[in-house]
């Protein structure tokens, strides 16, 4: 699964630490999601999307083979 979390963060100018605090996870978790080392749960994906005020699909998208 690909994501454009880093771009979304840059657009609203918040750091990984700030995003992590707002969704209640560690900064390492946000870092791992951005690097596609970790796929978040539905709940966390929804929380992240809510921070940016967009639909989940605008941040996370399925790749062929997923």
């Amino acid at each position: 699964m690909k994501n454009n979390l880093k771009i979304m963060r840059a657009m609203v100018n918040i750091t990984q630490a700030e995003l992590a605090e707002r969704v209640g996870v560690s900064r390492q978790t946000i870092n791992s999601i951005e690097a596609s080392r970790y796929i978040p749960s539905t709940l966390l994906a929804l929380k992240i999307a809510k921070v940016f005020g967009v639909a989940v699909e605008e941040i996370f998208r399925i790749e062929a083979g997923d």
Partner: protein, 155 residues
């Protein structure tokens, strides 16, 4: 994101302290072959009492008993205390590390079954009692360390 069945984070440093102390105790006993005088006491032996019909107190060294118990308690608290921020990612690392620990422990158990006999097998069993906790702690903290290193380069 609830982390169930975990100790509070504040206990973790106590766990490290107990674990370190137990390693020192056990290290002295295993490397120097001698325990601590403080732990050398007479213990009751019911089997001896049955055989001798009277004498049942025998001198014993409880260093291994005490250090082994402290090692289990310390390692257990270290392994199963919450992180500062416990979330779904740390839960996944925890689960994977537990899987690693069980795999490795049973691989060693199988090897011991096939390759060791007599007192050597008993020795291997003794050390293998700690394998699950030790492998779990090492793997879990190694992965956390790597994640911290990755995250340090990003803002």
């Amino acid at each position: 994101m609830n982390a169930r069945f975990l100790f509070p984070h504040r206990l973790k440093k106590w766990g490290w302290g107990i674990l370190g102390f137990s390693v020192l105790l056990m290290g002295k006993l295993l490397l120097l072959g001698d325990g601590f005088d403080l732990f050398k006491i007479n213990t009751h032996n019911a089997w001896l009492a049955f055989l001798s019909g009277g004498q049942s107190w025998v001198p014993d060294d409880l260093t291994l008993t005490i250090s082994g118990a402290l090692l289990i308690i310390g390692a257990f608290v270290v392994a199963f205390s919450k992180l500062k921020v416990e979330d779904e990612f740390s839960s996944r690392i925890r689960l994977e590390s537990l899987q690693w620990a069980v795999y490795l422990s049973y691989a060693l158990l199988l090897a011991a079954f096939l390759l060791l006999y007599g007192i050597n097998f008993v020795d291997a069993m003794f050390y293998n009692m700690f394998t699950v906790l030790v492998v779990f702690i090492v793997r879990f903290h190694w992965v956390l360390f790597r994640q911290n290193r990755f995250a340090r380069h990003e803002k």
